[in-house]
Amino acid sequence: MSAAGSLSPLIHLVDDDAAVRDALALLIATVGLRVEKWADPEAFLASFDRHGIGAIVLDIRMPGLSGMAVLDSLRASGADQPVIMLTGHASVDLCRRAFKGGAAEFLEKPVDDEVLLDALQQAVRRHVRSRERHAADQAARTRFNALTDREREVLGLIVAGLTNKEIGRALSLSPRTVETHRANLFDKLEAPSLAQLIRHYAALVAGDPG
């Protein structure tokens, strides 16, 4: 949890060859990305920071645990960092397996700086976006959970496109009461407009068993 707060992206570079590791690390560092080098895939899996923003560069051909096996364990453990696979001899089969296993990119060695750095920056951007979206989803859920049961009913009917009058009829409430609930839930959900409300909460309403 210590590095969780760090906003600067961190690239994890896993390659058993020291010369390759150092050279790639140096190259990545020239664009201002932080790099953590790992020689041993097992050590990497055991102790890398799963919560930080960043990406993973994996060599496929490594003694012990292969890059493919590392990719599988990453996905099985729910790590969400994008993974860029590197290989000396690419084959269609290897490529297919990598993408099926959830790799973001599949690059051939020797790799051109532009290609690698572009891929890394894109991966980092994507990771940041996905983390943001995730955070937004979390906040919306918290707010949604703060609603009363009646407010949730009203919200469901608003999302379904009913007018206040129709909602009042459906719930046997006076239009004024409906109006009050409506104002309250807009307030609680911090929605500036009906459009925003529907966009952020329609999915939560649909998934709400109540």
């Binding site: 150092d22 050279a23 790639l24 140096l26 190259l27 060695k109 700086d113």
Partner: protein
């Protein structure tokens, strides 16, 4: 230590056993048929002979009656000429009316008794130990002692002359063929054959005995002809049996030989294919390993140099960091060079041992190995040239070259109508070179490839590795030879030249082609 040979011998024997028993069964069946046939043949011969003997004896007996009847009708006096015409008639006698028979008493009473019993010719005083008998007949117009009577004495042994006897021209011949004949009367028998003293005590070993019994066709001479013949071991059809067994074993041997040859050829083909496949596999493995080995330093070189460029582009340029990166790049470039050097050392062949090899024989055996493949593809393959061409070469390498050249030609002929492949082995004593020409009538080598034929990774064939000819060229060069290509019309000709073996130089006699 004894177990492995035993184990390997068992399945061999297990495979051999049905073959052996089938072989024995075939031989035995053939022999049985031959013996059966010989037996039937001899039985038929015997029966024919016996019937002839019976007919001859019967004819003579009827003749005796006829002579006697004629004498008594004519009331003729006995004439000495009659015994000259019929050698078996020993003597003739006549009794005038009212007289008695001349001669000893015993004979007289016998003749009288016979004469009384009938008016037809009658047997009298038959003596089966000496083989003599009488027949007697009274004249038709009288009776008893008042009438005249005639009698004649006959010898059984002389009845049929040996020249007409069906079982050999003399008693000895007859005995040699193990045939015995008797005339039997009243339980006594007269032997027609020569009764050897030993034959009774030591009867011949008979596998089968044929017998014949029949009464002579003359009432006055009631003798039964009894003939026996033995089928002895000596009568077996030995020559036919020997010929049959020889032919059968030759057939079996050639069958086994062909089977063995076919199996050997199949195994050789399989080994050859296996060798090629494993070589390709090894090549693939090596290529993958090589790619990784070279890619690692190349990756480092590229990354370092590109990082250095970026560092120098910075403002201000980070010269020290860039220099460190370049130093790293140089080190990694050297590492790549080391990989290449190591690779070259590892695939360097340790130079096969050059021995004297008969190029012509090697070409023939290679062609023989690929012959089924040729037949499958409909390629007409012809091997011509000298009988024996000894060259100094590494046999394994040479075989590889020859096999590759033939294989290439076969591949080139894939889409050619009426494909033909000609192999010719010749020698040039002047240059001390042996020459193998492999010529096909395929489409020939494309002009684009022609100048680079012997370079690695150049192939005219889609999917070809382009290593075959380059390897052949390397091998040929290592053996002091040369491989070259010559366009033929149509097709392509590959010529391998190798130095003749040194024994040639020493002037040792070598067979010349006819």
């Amino acid at each position: 230590m004894n177990a492995p040979p035993k184990l390997s011998a068992l399945p061999r024997f297990g495979k051999l056993l049905p073959c052996l028993s089938a072989g024995f069964a075939g031989a035995a069946l053939g022999c049985a048929l031959l013996i059966q046939q010989s037996l039937a043949q001899q039985r038929e011969d015997f029966e024919t002979g016996a019937r002839i003997a019976h007919r001859l004896l019967s004819q003579r007996a009827v003749q005796h009656e006829a002579v006697l009847v004629t004498l008594s009708l004519l009331r003729a006096t006995p004439d000495a000429r009659l015994t000259a015409v019929y050698p078996q008639v020993l003597q003739l006698r006549q009794r005038a009316a009212g007289e008695i028979w001349p001669g000893p008493d015993r004979l007289r009473t016998a003749l009288e008794a016979a004469e009384q019993s009938s008016r037809k010719p009658q047997l009298a005083a038959a003596d089966m130990t000496t083989g003599r008998f009488w027949i007697v007949m009274p004249t038709p117009n009288g009776a008893g002692a008042a009438a005249e009577a005639h009698a004649l004495e006959v010898s059984l042994a002389l009845m049929v002359p040996w020249s007409e006897w069906p079982f050999g021209a003399s008693p000895e011949v007859m005995q040699a063929s193990s045939t015995r004949a008797w005339l039997v009367h009243d339980g006594a028998a007269f032997a027609m054959h020569a009764e050897a003293a030993s034959s009774a005590a030591n009867p011949p070993l008979a596998l089968r005995q044929f017998t014949f019994d029949k009464r002579l066709a003359a009432e006055s001479q009631p003798f039964t002809l009894h003939v026996e013949q033995n089928y002895r071991i000596a009568d077996l059809p030995w020559l036919s049996l020997a010929l049959w067994l020889a032919a059968w074993s030759a057939l079996l041997a050639s069958g086994v030989h062909m089977l063995r040859l076919r199996r050997a050829r199949r195994r050789a083909e399989a080994l050859l294919r296996l060798g090629q496949v494993s070589r390709l596999n090894a090549l693939g493995e090596m290529a993958a390993g090589l790619a990784h080995e070279l890619n690692q330093p190349l990756t480092a070189v590229l990354a370092n140099t590109q990082a250095a460029m970026r560092l120098l582009d910075d403002d201000p340029p980070e010269a020290d960091a860039a220099r460190a990166a370049m130093t790293q790049a140089a080190a990694q470039a050297r590492r790549a060079a080391d990989v290449v050097a190591r690779l070259r050392r590892s695939i360097e062949r340790p130079g096969g041992k050059c021995v004297t090899v008969d190029l012509a024989e090697l070409v023939r055996s290679s062609a023989n190995l690929l012959e089924p493949e040729c037949r499958r593809r409909g390629v007409a393959m012809a091997v011509s040239g000298a009988d024996a061409v000894p060259v100094a070469a590494d046999p394994v390498a040479l075989e590889q070259i020859v096999h590759n050249l033939i294989g290439n030609a076969l591949n080139a002929l894939e889409a050619t109508p009426a494909p033909s492949l000609q192999l010719a082995v010749t020698r040039d004593p002047a240059t001390r070179q042996a020459r193998l020409s492999v010529r096909d009538n395929g489409p020939g080598v494309a002009a684009a490839v022609r100048d680079h034929l012997f370079e690695p990774f150049v192939s005219a064939r889609p999917g070809g590795l382009g290593l075959g000819l380059s390897l052949c060229d390397t091998l040929a060069t290592e053996m002091g030879g040369r491989l070259r290509h010559q366009a033929a019309s149509p097709g392509a000709e590959f010529i391998l030249e190798l130095p003749l073996a040194r024994s040639e130089d020493a002037g040792q006699p070598v067979r010349r082609p006819a």
